[in-house]
Symmetry: C2
Subunit: 356 residues, 2 copies
């Protein structure tokens, strides 16, 4: 697997929203330096991000996004780390690893630094098992297998589209939980990777996330957050609900568990509460919506699925708040922009047909 990791240097981009903390790159240098970085700057374009020597990178600020996407740049959030999804769109690689700049290298229980990227690659290169639960977790891992009673017809698994990693130290809590439990730290290293079963939704966190851009990239849209929008901190959640419904429909797998990163600092719970509070209401309606969402059989590409989902968002969630009408339109704009920048992508033609 070490050699596979090495090979993927040509097939994987690291996407990072604004880097405010340059220690971040120094700490990750042993693991990330062989890879190409795409940095998407979320605030004032006149500010300059200094990237330490030795890293191969491209950096996009708001002016770049506006220039490249023109009017379609409206689908990319401003002054919010949701803008990172622009990096997914401009990448030309098969795999993406995205990480926040307050995530440092974790240690395993033996004190060894965790190579998070290597574990994401392992997760993405081995199949998923969404149709039946394996009680010994990932059956493809060394020392594990399918247990007694696991149907043999399901043991080939399905391709893995998403690898969701976790966080030691500061857990990814919402503002109310942060406020109630300001001192809670995650110290439990759970040595497992598992497939989230078909039909089950999960809260996807964008802090430490790998995915196969060819398989699911066009659905990895982080929505409208931040400047001018009524909510924040739901960018990754929105993407997670969309990708899970589409992966379930297309027979693709989503894994969660290892690798851990060390999440160094909690964001301000008061600021978070302001960003989140509408989401806290809305998620009570959004989740049943996604749980009930059914995609038609003729949606055979990610783009087609995503455009179909945007219609259902408009129809069903538009009643909840006009924000969802705007979001549904932005979902279509995102697909148009994706296909413009990735014209030879699989199924782009069909999806364009659907979108128009």
């Amino acid at each position: 697997m070490a050699s596979a990791t090495h090979l993927l240097t040509d097939e994987l981009d690291i996407v990072i929203p604004t880097i405010r903390n340059l220690d971040f790159l120094e700490m990750w240098r042993p693991f990330l330096q062989p890879y190409h970085l795409i940095i998407v700057q979320d605030g004032d374009p006149s500010k300059t991000i200094k990237v330490p020597d030795g890293f191969d990178y491209e950096l996009y600020n708001r002016n770049d996004i506006n220039r490249i996407l023109g009017p379609r740049s409206s689908c990319i959030s401003f002054k919010d780390s949701a803008c990172r999804c622009f990096g997914y769109m401009v990448s030309k690689k098969k795999y993406i690893f995205t990480i926040d700049d307050d995530c440092f290298v974790a240690q395993d229980p033996a004190g060894k630094p965790v190579n998070a990227l290597e574990q994401h690659i392992k997760n993405l290169l081995s199949p998923s098992t969404p149709f039946f639960f394996n009680t010994l977790y990932d059956p493809y891992r060394d020392g594990a297998d399918f247990v007694r009673g696991y149907p043999f017809s399901l043991r080939e698994g399905v391709p893995t589209a998403v690898s969701h990693g976790l966080w030691l130290n500061i857990p990814d809590y919402d503002a109310p939980t942060q406020l109630v439990k300001p001192l809670e730290r995650n110290t439990r290293f759970v040595d497992a990777v598992l497939t989230i079963p078909k039909g089950t939704l999960f809260p996807m966190c964008g802090m430490n996330l790998g995915f196969d851009r060819d398989l699911i990239g066009p659905a990895m849209y982080f929505g409208l957050m931040g400047d001018g929008q009524p909510i924040g901190r739901y960018d990754d959640m929105w993407a997670g609900w969309c990708i899970k419904v589409i992966c379930d429909h297309l027979g693709l797998g989503v894994k969660t568990g290892l690798p851990y990163i060390y999440h160094s600092k909690a964001s301000n719970p008061f600021v978070n509460l302001r960003k989140e509070y509408k989401g806290i209401f809305w998620q009570e309606e959004i989740i049943p919506f996604f749980q009930a969402a059914v995609l038609p059989k003729d949606c055979t590409t990610v783009q087609a699925c995503y455009v179909e989902l945007s219609k259902q968002v408009k129809e069903k969630l538009g009643k909840v708040d006009p924000y969802f009408d705007k979001l549904a339109e932005a979902m279509v704009t995102w697909i148009e922009a994706w296909d413009e920048l990735n014209p030879t992508g699989p199924g782009a033609k069909l999806a364009n047909g659907k979108a128009n």
Copy 2:
């Protein structure tokens, strides 16, 4: 929680199929001696099982089963550890912990002996979360909680009916996997408990299993296995598929993960292959059957659900093999026997009405 464990000495029975190895009870003495044991002897009734001094127990052999159940004793397997379910039926306690006699006390990564029973009790006394996946696993555990994006309306959880524990050392593999990987040992201690999501089936192993008899007992039938039957080693699997469908219907939770036991010896893979080979074919049809099974809304008790399921088994699986007709009838007999021995059990009246 330690005090809760203590209290449950009056509310929990330990059910053990034939004890061939008396080291077993000596090893478990510190943990099991405060509890009442129900031993169900699976072979020749003239053989005597010597239980070491100090244990409070009752022992049933085949003659006892025949005497107590009369003609309905046909639903209890003979010469197979599936007979253990007779112990579930004669217990009068709220909780059951069942364990095999080749399961020893495991050690956690710090070398401390694992009190498996205490962990099962913790699992059973805290709620489950089947409707949405929590990426930090059991949200009710110390040091954990619901993560950002988890709907607040689902944070009360639902009552936990089943706690499925795992095994270090010899993994619970089927015969083909045992044959292919004779040396594989499970050495990975995964420090997690998680709810198996609604709509997802899993392979439930009876080696190390706790459940709430009041909530799910009547569905914990281990089927027809062993003497005179065409298959073996599917007793716990059968029960697992049935209980999961019924728990999903009734809004009850099923957890898997901790506690570990140390599984000391692999059973003979050649013998296992003979017992399993029909099951290996049949499970390819049984699992889609259970995945598609829908119980009517008016089935509001476990008994009513189970009798309804028996009808569906006869109708849909009877075509696969006449064995399933016999099994469907035994499922009804089991419920009749359960209700006879547990006449005041919740919903017994309704279920009897359905069964006749």
